[in-house]
């Protein structure tokens, strides 16, 4: 119990900094790929701090409630995950968190946010099956839903559920809001939706969204790592490679329409899930 709490608290305290470092590296590498110098590595942190220096301005007061709930539940999701709880609950908590984010965008009653919210919903719908199937795969491989048991499994789960790993890496692009799947809102400047989902969030409200994103990044990379948990260092290497791949994809692709996103994500989930779970079930 105590170790679990330590892990959870550790996540809550450290994740934003780790997330910011990852984000900073991301921007640095992106800049290098484009032949630029890029911002300092700690830039994501500066951004967040700046946002909290800004005026508390909103479109509607209620919006902050939804966004704050989003932040809290993202943190909760990550804390559950890193304290080794039930992975299905983790996924459901994450869905709840995102529902709050989407509701926050709806609550602004602004056209750009509205379309952003709808697209975020599409993204949610695209990703959800893969996450649930991955959880199912973990269970079939280890006989437990508890992240703790999965992490302590003596063999790398990648060996038993490789296709699910591929599927998770695929939807990671959607979850990290990377091109070509950054439909709802994007880190890149100037797009047809202004800033989509986040268009109406200013100052500290946006700051909360950014922090949540830092937590989320760490959580998702943790999920990737889980496939290699028995070999922690190899896992770390895989995480780095995967993230580098994401940056590469981000910089070399253009945004697709939602149909392509939904179809491809579902197809990957279906194929990966059906084959991998099927093989596990029949063996």
């Amino acid at each position: 119990m105590i170790t679990e709490i330590i892990f959870a608290v550790g996540f809550i305290i450290l994740a934003p900094f780790i997330g910011a470092l990852i984000g900073g590296m991301d921007r640095k590498v992106t800049a290098r790929m484009q032949g630029r110098v890029g911002p300092p590595v700690l830039q994501p942190l500066y951004d967040v701090f700046k946002l909290f220096e800004k005026e508390k301005a909103v479109v509607r007061n209620e919006v902050n409630f939804y966004i704050f709930s989003y932040l809290i539940f993202v943190v909760f999701t990550g804390a559950l995950f890193f304290s080794g709880s039930d992975i299905l609950l983790v996924i459901f908590a994450l869905t709840l968190a995102h529902a709050f984010l989407i509701l926050g965008a709806y609550a602004t009653t602004s056209p750009y946010s509205h379309i952003g919210a709808e697209r975020e919903l599409l993204q949610l719908m695209a990703v959800e099956p893969m996450l649930i199937l991955a959880a199912a795969g973990f269970y079939m491989a280890t006989g437990s839903f508890a992240v703790k048991d999965i992490a302590l499994w003596p063999e790398p789960l990648f060996m038993t559920i490789p296709l699910l790993f591929v599927g998770i890496v695929f939807v990671l692009t959607i979850k990290l809001r990377k091109s070509p799947f950054d439909l709802a809102t994007s880190h890149h400047a100037h797009q047809e939706l202004v800033k989509g989902l986040t268009t109406e969030f200013a100052g500290p409200t946006l700051g909360m969204v950014e922090i949540a994103h830092l937590y989320e990044t760490v959580f998702f990379l943790g999920l990737v790592w889980l496939f290699f948990a028995s070999m922690p260092w190899v896992g770390l290497l895989v995480v780095i490679v995967v993230y580098f791949l994401e940056i590469l994809i981000d910089n070399t692709t253009t945004r697709v329409r939602w149909q392509v996103m939904l179809r491809s994500a579902w197809l990957v989930a279906l194929v990966a899930g059906a084959i991998n779970l099927g093989v596990l079930a029949l063996l």
């Binding site: 005026e55 909103v58 909760f76 709840l96 009653t109 649930i132 199912a136 839903f145």
Partner: protein, 635 residues
């Protein structure tokens, strides 16, 4: 025993009274009174029998069975008359065949001194509470709603006496279904629910479409009824002593004996629970006044369908028949959820979501393992409460804003804050963690994973629940999209409507918080009684769930903080100045309103397209199942 008989007879007798009473205050008061009595008795029933396990009651069946047969003949005659009058020959044929099969079977079975005709066990208690409490609340709600309904439809003949009588007969029949151990009795009540639903759907009889939908519902349910009737023929032919006519004996006989009746009754259950390919009757039933929909969807009718399937779940466990039933449920869950995306009519969304959720229950029951049954029962409970709440709030909103379209509910939170909050609670209860349905979904997933070949169901569930999130969230979004503070519309909602909405909301929250109790006092004893083991949420998970419920409940308090000293900025409309009620200055200086519509993706999730697929696939599964049985019979 008196309690059980009382619950069956009292609403039926009350119905007689309502046939006579004219519209007016007296009738309204009596409706409320009768409902209150039913609720009270149901609660008393709970207190009396909650810890008692399974209790059987001896009732001399001879006389009663004859009365039932007599009533069945009368009902059939009535249906024949209607069918002939409106040239529904298929229905006429089904009625005749069904009656023939039943009478033939009765002649085969020598009426032994059948005992134990009534019984009660924890599952019956749960169902009785759903029927008694939710059903009665819907009746109370109807008082206010139907008054409005007839002011809105002034040209319609006012048949409210008939309406209230039918509501209570419906409740009586449902009590009969869940308390009967004698399958003949169960079948009788089963047919009464079919009849009641037919008449209630056809309430606005003068309307052509209404009649058509009512007959369609009747037709499909008669098909199911025929399947049920065949059970008796089978029992009559294999075991003329009539011992198997008792559900407990049949269930105890195990799959080797009971497979065929279980499959037939499962088939009947699929029709009544509106699974694909039979789902269209429930969608058509939306044409009825909203309380009828609420009743059909939450506490009666479809619940009778899943009730029998869950009853026979132990027989289905690890069998081909069970697996096929599961697949029908699973496919229905996925596709009906998908169709719900493409609907903007609130009642239709609710209808498809009901079909989908019942699909999940059926999928669990078909798997039939202890964990699956545990999940199925919880699903039934949560669904009943959330769905009735949603239907009733949609009904109220419809009367106030004059539309049942979700697009017209934009910013409802501003216009009708109280009702909107209830609706939001209902919707959250349908799909969000940590509320009820999600717990059940979690349990269902675990159950599927442990079942042989369950991974296909896991796939269906994974995609289905993703789809569910989509259409519920966008509805929620519409409700909270408040552009400005408009005139409140809530002033004239009748006390009767509040009288049902408020308790249902409280119930919803209470069940979400108190579900561990529900599980350990009712569901677990039932499941344990059958399987000797049971599923529960692990303690750690329980704590997490409770934590989440607590967080969600506390979160709104932060509004107090976020209300303070914020600067309100105008919304961004491409840099054009926009007013606070979202009109912007368009070209040549014309003010235009901003119109925000949701995605319905009709080209991808269209009703036609998906229901064709679903019907085809499910017909194949059912045909396979029936063929399997036929082979079994021949062999």
């Amino acid at each position: 025993m008196e309690l059980l008989v009382f619950l069956i007879l009292f609403p039926a007798l009350a119905a007689l009274v309502f046939c006579i009473l004219p519209n007016g205050r007296l009738r309204d008061t009596i409706v409320v009174l009768v409902s209150a009595i039913i609720i009270a008795v149901t609660l008393y029933l709970f207190v009396m029998f909650a810890g008692a396990g399974t209790v059987y009651f001896d009732i001399e069946s001879g006389m009663i069975s004859q009365i039932m047969t007599g009533l069945e003949i009368i009902i059939s005659a009535g249906l024949l008359y209607l069918a002939a009058k409106y040239r529904q020959y298929l229905i006429a044929g089904l009625v005749v065949v069904q009656l023939g099969v039943v009478l033939y079977a009765e002649s085969l079975i020598q009426e032994t001194a059948a005992l134990n005709n009534l019984f009660i066990d924890p599952f019956s208690i749960i169902m009785a509470m759903i029927i008694g409490i939710i059903g009665s609340l819907i009746c109370v709600y109807s008082v206010g709603y139907m008054r409005d309904y007839h002011t809105h439809h002034a040209d319609m003949p006012d048949k409210r006496r008939w309406f209230f009588a039918l509501l209570f007969v419906f409740l009586a029949a449902m009590f009969g279904v869940v308390f009967s151990n004698n399958l003949f009795w169960l079948f009788f009540f089963w047919e009464v629910t079919t009849l009641c639903s037919f008449l209630l759907i056809g309430y606005n009889w003068g309307d052509e479409q209404t009649r058509k939908n009512a007959f369609w519902a009747l037709l499909l349910n008669l098909v199911g009824g025929l399947g049920f009737a065949c059970t008796f023929a089978w029992i009559g032919l294999t075991d003329p002593s009539g011992g198997l006519i008792m559900m407990d004996t049949l269930l105890a006989a195990g799959p080797a004996v009971a497979m065929i009746p279980a499959a037939l009754i499962g088939f009947a259950g699929l029709t009544k629970a509106a699974q694909m390919p039979f789902s269209s009757w429930l969608v058509g039933a939306m044409i009825a006044p909203t309380p009828v929909s609420a009743l059909l969807h939450s506490s009666t009718m479809v619940k009778a369908g899943v009730y029998v399937i869950v009853r026979f779940a132990p027989i289905y466990n690890v069998t081909m028949v069970g697996y096929l039933i599961s697949l029908v449920g699973g496919v229905t869950f996925l596709l009906a959820s998908g169709i719900a995306i493409s609907q903007s009519n609130a009642k239709k969304v609710l209808a498809y979501s009901t079909i989908a959720n019942l699909g999940l229950v059926v999928a669990c029951a078909g798997i039939g393992s202890y964990a699956a049954v545990w999940a199925a029962i919880l699903l039934i409970v949560f669904h009943a409460i959330a769905k009735s709440l949603l239907f009733l709030s949609v009904g109220t909103v419809e009367h106030k804003i004059g539309s049942r379209d979700i697009e017209d509910m934009t910013g409802l939170l501003g216009r009708m804050p109280k009702v909107a909050v209830m609706m939001i609670i209902g919707i959250a209860g349908m799909f969000l963690a940590p509320f009820g349905m999600l717990i059940s979904k979690w349990a269902a997933l675990v159950a599927f994973l442990d079942a042989p070949y369950g991974f296909i169901l896991v796939l269906l569930l994974a995609f289905g629940s993703a789809v569910t999130v989509f259409f519920w969230t966008k509805w929620l979004g519409k409700l909270i999209e408040v552009a400005w503070k408009p005139e409140p519309l809530e002033v004239k909602i009748s006390n009767h409507e509040y009288g049902a909405l408020v308790p249902l909301t409280v119930l919803m929250v209470a069940v979400c918080i108190g579900f561990p109790l529900l599980s350990s006092y009712l569901v677990v004893p039932y499941v344990f009684g059958i399987y000797g083991m049971t599923a529960t949420l692990g303690q750690a998970n329980m704590i997490i769930m409770v934590m989440m419920v607590f967080m969600v409940l506390v979160m709104p308090l932060t509004l107090l903080h976020f209300r303070k000293d914020r600067k309100i900025l105008p919304r961004y409309v491409g840099g054009r100045p926009a007013t606070s009620d979202m009109h912007f200055k368009g070209s040549i200086g014309v003010q235009r309103p901003v119109a925000l519509g949701n995605y319905y993706l009709a080209n991808y999730f269209g009703e036609q397209r998906l229901s064709h697929i679903g019907n085809g696939v499910c017909i194949a599964f059912i045909a396979l199942m029936l063929a399997g049985i036929l082979l079994g019979v021949i062999a």
